[in-house]
Every structure is written in structure tokens, then in C-alpha cells.
Symmetry: C2
Subunit: 582 residues, 2 copies
């Protein structure tokens, strides 16, 4: 990290990943040199201050030329020649991740064996040296069965799903032919709920840090959308980060850099490792605009022997949308989504500078950020619509899970709903995403515990709880969540809600409940809006306008009173009893 003689990082591959590495290098006072068959004309070429070498990624001579003057050689793609990397290492070149690491990772069967031996949670798999072994696996694991080439697979290429045992011979033959002699193995079908991914960065001295878990949405085996943090419970996210970190830590010395770890989230909440890529990964692009230190910067830092940067997100929520070449193969279709994104708040466009636009080719991506997941939908959904992607469609891959709501509205009984619906009306009016459920402290104590304990990890930022009489729900929920809980004392026939009020407001030291007036769920909704608006200027402006509106209502009544006089005004009132309704 010196200003006058910048270290040089050699990158095998000059595609978009190399380009995005190269774009972060100058800030770090690093220089880049790249190897690509298009050389200087590759997306990374002109950004390579230390030169671009034209040549094949597996050619030993080209790799030697790349390594000239480099302090370290890394890669943007794992489909490289391990013997050629080993030759570099023997010649004293620092290769990161090392040839030995790439040997394990580029062969998915060796990868599985390594992670299984390291105690990383994995699905079942089996080597398939011949058709008979495929048929045997189909009987043992059941159908469908996932067949994969051991090497050279990406974006679904090198994968085949066996749905009928009669196809075993044909599929095995096709995969064996396309696997460049590497062979075939199979994986037991994994009935996952969602696909998750974690970028993990590992420094030369063994420091391992994980970026937040994301949900990766694939369609037709190509990553289309990533949402961060993953739209699952905080516990599942933590589990994914633990599995991913354990996997990368197991690679041992000589494996510095970032690693893209793909995982499966099962219905049970269990998380299994799927595959690892030894480089910046499509599921980590969101870090460019959602983190102070992106996956690209941390990869450069790690391979250059610098200390790692923070992997924390600096925004509440983010998404990445891939922009593929339009089905027409023309630029015009591809431009449309970028043009839309360019005018959106919180959107950053990333073109890859590729020559020519082919249908399905990765041409760029858009990163979106927002204070939290519900706000992200305001930009994410129009972009998906523009791309013709239905978030809920699972016919060709994963869904885009819906964002968690910000506010939970709960009550002890459906008899509280007529009173509590006023809170929901307010949340709707202000456009604050909420969920509503019946949760009784006395009749469903276990449901209540589960609700309270999971609330924060599910993404809620506030809970409104209504209860009457021996009104325990708000206080009991507050005892089991770190979130602010607003309590609504429901009006009772016995004590007009005074019993509810005392039960809710007189909480012991240590556990607060934000209590509103008896039967005033509208105010509970407004209090929740004020809470979430404190960090959302647009929503806070809406609250100011609402309060100005209240002023207008009273001024209107004042004018009417002046015009009609006291008696005339009273004649028009429904409630003339003299009892005040608040």
C-alpha cells in the first residue's frame, strides 16, 4: 500500500470480474496486469496499468508472461491449468489462491470430498465413473438425481437432471463428453426452500471473515437476482455464514482471496453447502454499493497480503439484478433496464464493457440499496417487471422471497380485531409494511414465545400488541424481544379498560411497554410509524403532513362553529351526551 511503487496483481482472465477488480485497484494503490485471449481489448485490458497479456488462460507460456513483474498472481475464473499454476509456484511466483487450492475446488468431486472430510454440512453425493454407478445412485438416492461434470461447469453448463432412469446412459455420455475427461459425479436431489450465498474472505495469515448471507435467485440455472441480507431468519443467515466460514477456513494456508460459497436452505432451517468458487462471485456484486469494502477490494487486499476490510453492510438492505443480453440479441432491449435503473433512487448501474450483445450474455448489473427490505421493493419490483421476471414464479428456478414486514400487529383474540384494525389502517395509510396475527398470551403461550423470540430476526422493527383485562400480551412479548413493543389497552365492559391499562403500563424495571390510551389503536399505529420514520426522512415528512392535516381538521371545525354558533353546531352533532370520546 505504497504510493510510489504500487504492488502489481496479475489476474488470470480479463472478463467482468477482472474488470471490477481492476477498477478498485487504483484506490488501493495497486496495479493490475491481466491475461485474456483478447488481451488489451478485453473488459479488463485498458485498466491493466501493468499491461494486458493476450493468450489462453491454460497456456503455461502465457501464464509465465503474465507473472512477469507481478507481486502476486490471482484469477477471476477457476477453469485454469493447475499444472501451469504449479509451474509458476515452482518458479517462485506467489499464486493466490494457491495451485493446491484450485486443484481441490475446480474438481467438484474433490471439493465435496474435501469439505466432507472437514466436517462441513453437505448433501449426499457419489462418484459416477460409469453408467452402472449412475443407475445404482438413482436407486439409492431416488429420482430426480443431479448429475454434474467434475470440472468446467458454470451457469448450469455441465449439469443434468436425471428424471427417468432410462436416460442414464444418454445423460452420462453427454456430461462425460463435455467434462474434458474430468468425469461425472452425482448429488442426491436437495429439496431446498431457497438458495443462499455467502462471500467469505480469507487472508494469508488465516483471518476469515464472512459478508452477510444473501438469497440468490437463479432462473434456468443462471443467477438473476440477489437480495441482501437473505430473506430468511437471522438464525438461518448465521448458520449459512458459519457453514461458509468453516468451509473456507478448512482450505488452510495458501488459500487467500474471496470465495463465493453457494448454499441450500432447507425447510427445516438446516443449511447445506452446495459449491464454492475461489474468486469474486456474482452473488457478491451487491457489496460494491452496500459495503464500505467490496468483495473486489477484499480479494485484492487478501491476495496482496494486506489486512482485510470490514465485511459489514453500510445500508439496511440491498439487491443486485443481472442484466443479460436481451433475447433479441440487440442492445436496445438490453438498454431498457439500465435506463430505468439510471433514474431510480438508490440504484447504481454497472456496465461490463463487452463488445457485442448476445442473448443471455452477462452485460452488466444494477445494485440497489434501501434502508430496509420493504423499501427496496419500490425499486426492485419495477426492475424485475422490466426484465419480465415474476418474483413468485418457481417454474424455472427460485422465487424472490417477499420482504419481511417492518411492524407486527398482534392481539389476544379476534374480538380485539375491530379495535386493533385502526392500527393496520394507519400503517396502510403511511405505506409501512406490516403483518397481523392473533397471538394469545394465555391460550397460545408457546406461539407467543415463538413470535416474540423470532420477531427481530425476521426483520420486524416494532411490535404493536393489543390486549384487554388481565392484559399480559404486550408485556410478555416485550420480555422476549429487544424490539420496542407498543401496548394497546383494549376497552373492557367491567372497568372500561382501566384493568387493561394498568396491566400493560405498570411494567417492572427492565422491560418497557410503550402504552397508548385505552382503545386507541390508531395512536399505536402512529407511534409505530414515528418509530420507523426516525431513520426514514421521506416517511417523517409524511408524518409532518399528517399532523398539519389534523390542524386543518380542527381549524375547519372552528370555522364551522363561528359560522353556526354553539346551538347550531350542536344540532348537527351525533353525540350530544356530553361524554368525551377520545
Amino acid at each position: 500500500m505504497s504510493a510510489s511503487s504500487p504492488p502489481v496483481v496479475g489476474i488470470i482472465g480479463g472478463g467482468q470480474l477482472g474488470r471490477m477488480l481492476a477498477l478498485e485497484a487504483p484506490r488501493l494503490s495497486l496495479s493490475v496486469r491481466c491475461l485474456d485471449k483478447a488481451g488489451a481489448a478485453s473488459p479488463t485490458g485498458f485498466l491493466s496499468k501493468a499491461g494486458a497479456v493476450a493468450g489462453g488462460l491454460k497456456e503455461a507460456a502465457a501464464l509465465r508472461e503474465l507473472a512477469e513483474g507481478c507481486d502476486v498472481v490471482t484469477m477471476e475464473i477457476e477453469h485454469v491449468s493447475v499444472p501451469a499454476l504449479e509451474e509458476l509456484e515452482r518458479a517462485g511466483v506467489n499464486v493466490q489462491p494457491s495451485a493446491g487450492t484450485i486443484r481441490i475446488i475446480q474438481d467438484k468431486l474433490l471439493q465435496k470430498n474435501h469439505f466432507q472430510a472437514s466436517g462441513v454440512a453437505l448433501g449426499e453425493y457419489r462418484d459416477c465413473p460409469d453408467v452402472a454407478s449412475v443407475e445404482e445412485a438413482a436407486r439409492d438416492f431416488g429420482l430426480p438425481l443431479m448429475l454434474k461434470s467434475r470440472k468446467e461447469g458454470y451457469d448450469g453448463r455441465g449439469n443434468a437432471v436425471l428424471r427417468d432412469e432410462a436416460d442414464a446412459g444418454r445423460l452420462f455420455g453427454e456430461l462425460a463428453a463435455s467434462s474434458a475427461g474430468s468425469g461425472v459425479y452425482c448429488e442426491k436431489w436437495c429439496p431446498f426452500v431457497d438458495e443462499l450465498a455467502v462471500m467469505v474472505v480469507k487472508s494469508a495469515n488465516g483471518d476469515v471473515q464472512a459478508y452477510p448471507t444473501v438469497t440468490a435467485i437463479q432462473r434456468d440455472s443462471v443467477c438473476r437476482v440477489v437480495v441482501a441480507p437473505a430473506r430468511c431468519s437471522a438464525e438461518a443467515r448465521a448458520r449459512a455464514e458459519a457453514v461458509a466460514s468453516k468451509a473456507i477456513a478448512s482450505l488452510g494456508p495458501g488459500a487467500s482471496g474471496v470465495f463465493g460459497v453457494e448454499l441450500f436452505l432447507l425447510e427445516s432451517g438446516e443449511v447445506l453447502l452446495n459449491e464454492v468458487a475461489p474468486r469474486p462471485h456474482n452473488t457478491g456484486h451487491y457489496t460494491q454499493d452496500a459495503c464500505a469494502v467490496s468483495q473486489f477490494e477484499n480479494h485484492l487486499r487478501a491476495v496482496a497480503g494486506m489486512k482485510l476490510g470490514s465485511t459489514e453492510m453500510s445500508v439496511g438492505a440491498a439487491a443486485m439484478v443481472n442484466v443479460l443480453g436481451h433475447s433479441s440479441g440487440t442492445e436496445e432491449g438490453t438498454l431498457e433496464v439500465m435506463e430505468l435503473a439510471a433514474g431510480m433512487p438508490g440504484a447504481t448501474v454497472h456496465w461490463y464493457g463487452k463488445d457485442g450483445c448476445k442473448a443471455g450474455r452477462k452485460m452488466g448489473h444494477v445494485n440497489l440499496t434501501a434502508p430496509s427490505a420493504p423499501e427496496l421493493e419500490a425499486t426492485l419490483l419495477p426492475l424485475l417487471a422490466c426484465l419480465g421476471l415474476d418474483p413468485a414464479d418457481t417454474s424455472a428456478g427460485g422465487r424472490v422471497p417477499p420482504p419481511p414486514p417492518l411492524v407486527g400487529v398482534i392481539m389476544g383474540s379476534d374480538s380485539d380485531l375491530p379495535a386493533m384494525s385502526a392500527a393496520c389502517d394507519i400503517l396502510k395509510k403511511f405505506g409501512v409494511a406490516f403483518e397481523c396475527d392473533i397471538v394469545s398470551a394465555h391460550r397460545t403461550p408457546e406461539k407467543m414465545m415463538a413470535y416474540a423470540k423470532s420477531a427481530a430476526s425476521r426483520g420486524l422493527q416494532c411490535i404493536i400488541a393489543g390486549a384487554g383485562g388481565a392484559a399480559h400480551l404486550p408485556g410478555m412479548v416485550a420480555a422476549m424481544t429487544p424490539l420496542p413493543v407498543v401496548g394497546v389497552p383494549i376497552k373492557t365492559s367491567t372497568f372500561s379498560g382501566l384493568d387493561s391499562l394498568y396491566s400493560i403500563v405498570q411494567m417492572p424495571r427492565g422491560i418497557p411497554v410503550a402504552t397508548v390510551a385505552v382503545g386507541n389503536a390508531e395512536n399505536a399505529g402512529l407511534l409505530a410509524v414515528r418509530m420507523v420514520a426516525a431513520t426514514r426522512p421521506g416517511l417523517q415528512r409524511k408524518m409532518v403532513e399528517y399532523q398539519e392535516g389534523l390542524q386543518g381538521v380542527v381549524e375547519g371545525k372552528s370555522e364551522k362553529l363561528q359560522a353556526k354558533g354553539v346551538d347550531g353546531y350542536l344540532e348537527g352533532m351525533a353525540n350530544k351526551s356530553g361524554t368525551v370520546n377520545v
Copy 2:
């Protein structure tokens, strides 16, 4: 914005601003060509896909060479030759901002005349063609008097402060000599509280958008630190954005690009324009990491005729710290602050790639982001300390204004302080920045109104208000702020606080108060922490730990009771009356 034939932007100047423009160009599918005396060896040189021209920035021939193949020519510095720009325009080159705009802006006296004629708020100033006019201005405006060269000034060069009329001749002579024949003018001394700055972007079609106002901290006339948003009231920020936008809009057609607008904030809250730079500006560097679309991207978009991107911040607070060459002139001293920043959460380092490290030379900067201003201090203050910058020192320039607190604790009387201090203790325990004051609804109604109305704009995210008896403070404050207000009913001798409770909790529809138990200010503090923790994962973890601690306390008592038995336990208790203290 086409993938195959990217528009080319020519940049006059190849320093750090050109470099940071060039680093954002590839993402937008734009190519850069630059002109610098160091050509390809300049900081921008190797990033110039469309070539780097070696030549002087004021040489007509060099400018013509730069313009070859460019779709538009812009600049990173305003000290250029207007006749040479005009020549380009006559030859059909699209220059942005136009030669006419640069003519006005590069001559600070013409700039003042233009903005004054456009009705932009300015301090008093006067042309000083000779020493006699300086002496006359000193008598009219008083001393000290700010003398400035009309052209070529930057970072305090070209400025001189006249403190003694006897020095008028000498200072005038020095400035006149260094002004390259442009002449001298003077400005009446402006007793500002803080210096503000606003980046404004203007598109070719006249669309004008302002980034948030920042506080710019200069020391010895060099910008050292920027904090965003500015640490002043939201009203003053809005005023600054209005003044800046009006100024830039007044430049009319042919003035596309970003403009750095420097302003003075006066004690009265009034905001006056200081100077405008027609290019990306040091006070806008924070936008690289705090906004989805940075000043550099928006400059490129504007000059290339693309639609403007959002100028909103995507984080709650940000700061920029300039890294100047160490006073030793060595790299080692300069590296220290960058090394410190590289390990900080929310910090992004930006080296400029300059050859050689001279004392005081701008070598790079660090951007910091955080959810809100108080959290920013955790990284900003250590960086300032590393640079030897005392935030409060005003001997050589501006202070770094302290961050606004997140929570306000107020009460009607000092007699409430013993009860209310428990809220402050909790806020201290959790490290939540707060302010504490006595504000009485009945005895200081105007202070209360001012407090409530300014609370959100000053940066508070929650107010805790304690009151007893006819306890109006919480509800009245809630009526005049969009923030959540927590009400603490103070225990009274007449009704044990039941009067306070009813006064606080029974608010009418429309205005909620989050009421806690009578006398339980500790819970009010905890509620405020829960509110601000909802968007701060680290703080929320602390709340979970606190709740686990409560569990531990009760379990300890349980063990003691089992060990000592009921009678033994009671013997050790201070309160054996049977009355429950909550």
C-alpha cells in the same frame, strides 16, 4: 450509454479529480481521454481508454488534440484558457460547462457580479483596481478585510487578510503580482459560524439537483474534513441547498455538470454564497461512498447528456477526511492514517496514485459512513487524532461541529431530575448519545414549542419527557414533532402519580405518547434504546445481552432463596413491608 460504441469524454486536467471521473466512466459505458502535462503518467493517464494527451491545460493546440474523437470536453480544473475553449466551441466541439460559464466562474469578481445580479444571497464585495480603493473599502467594510485575486486562486492561494490598513499597499501589490494580471477585489469580512458546501448537478436540459449540504472544515485554508449531512439545523441545510441551486440554475443553458458551491452559515441561520467551482469538488468526495450516484458519475452523466442520477444519501451520516502528504514529506507518515482507516468498519480508502509525497500535497482521502452522526464519531475521531486535528480547535480554521445526540431527555422541573436521571443512566450504559434539559410546558411554553419543533431537524430520533400531576409536557411535545415521544408519569404525593399517568397516556387520536409505568424513567431509557436499536444491529445485540442479564439476576435470587429458605431470605431484605416496589 451504449455497450458497443461508448461516448468519449475529454477531461482537461489529469489530477485526482480527473482520475475519479475516469474510474466511474467504465461502469457507465463511457470512455475518457485526458489532457495533462504528464500525459499518460498523470493520475488519470492509464485510465484514459481514449488516450492521454501530454500538454499544458491552457495550450490551444493541446486542447485541440484532446478534443479529437471526443463527444464532449469537460474539465477538472477551472484555471483554463477561455479563448482556447471558445476556439474549440467555434470548431464545433461540445464544451461542458461552456466557455461562457467558465469565463464567469474563473473570475471571482465576475462570478460575484453574476450571482448578485441573479438575486443570490452574497456578502458585500467590491472591485479593487488600486491601493486607494483597498483603503477605502477597509474604511467602509471595516477590518479585517478579505483581499482576493480575481483569478487563479485555490486552497487559500490568491487570498490575503488585511488586518492593518498600513499593509494595504504591500498586500495589494503581492496579490496583483500573483493574479496573472486578473486584478484584485475585496470581500467584507464574514463572521460565519461554519462553512457549508453543496454539490449541485445541472443537466443540459436545465434539470438542477442538489446533494445534501455538508459542513466543510478548513484548516489553514485547506479543506481537511467534510461531514454529511451538515451539522446544523435541517432548516439551515435546506436554505443552503436553495441558495446553491438558485446560483447554479442562474448559469443558464450551456452549464451542465456538477458545481461545488461553498457557503457561509451565519449565527442568525442565514446562508451566504462564498464561491463556486465548475467541477467535482473536494467537498463532494463523500458522495462516492454515501450515495448511489456520486458527484463524479453525475458530472459524467450531465456533460454526456444523460439523465441525472439521484442525489440522495443512502446512509444516515458520512464524513470525508483528506490525507495530505505528511509534514515530514515521507510516505511513512502519510501511510499511517490510511492504514488506520483500512481496518475501520465503514471506511473506504482512496489513494490518488501521485508520484512522490510532498508535505501538504493531497495524496488521497478516506470516506466514512455510519447509520447516524453519533456513530460516525467512533471512526472519525480516531482518524482526526491520527492526523493531529483537534475537532474543537478554531485557531487555524473551522471546528468539526459535535454530532447531534440521538435522544433528548426533558422534564418540567429540576424536582423531576432525581427520577429522570435513571433514563440518562440507561442511555449512558448503552452508549446512546443524548442531551438533557429542563423544559416546562406551563412555565416555559415557548421554549417547549421551540424544542419540539426543532427536535427532528436537529437530528434527535426520540424524545423522553417526564412530568407529574397535570403532566402536559410529553403530549404537548408530541403534538409538535414527528418523533416518537416517551412519556414518564412522575410519582406525585397527592395521587401517587395516577394523575400524571392519566394526563400522559390518555392522548387523543392522532397524537400518541409512548407511556411507561409511573416513576419508571429507567424503562423510558430502555424504550428509547429499543427504538434506536431497531436499525442498529450492534446496539440490538447489547439489548439482548441486557435482557439475558436480567434473567441472571432473577436466577441468582432464586438460588439464594432455595439455599436460605423463606425466613432466612426475608431476614436479609431491607424492605419487609410487603409493599411491592416496581
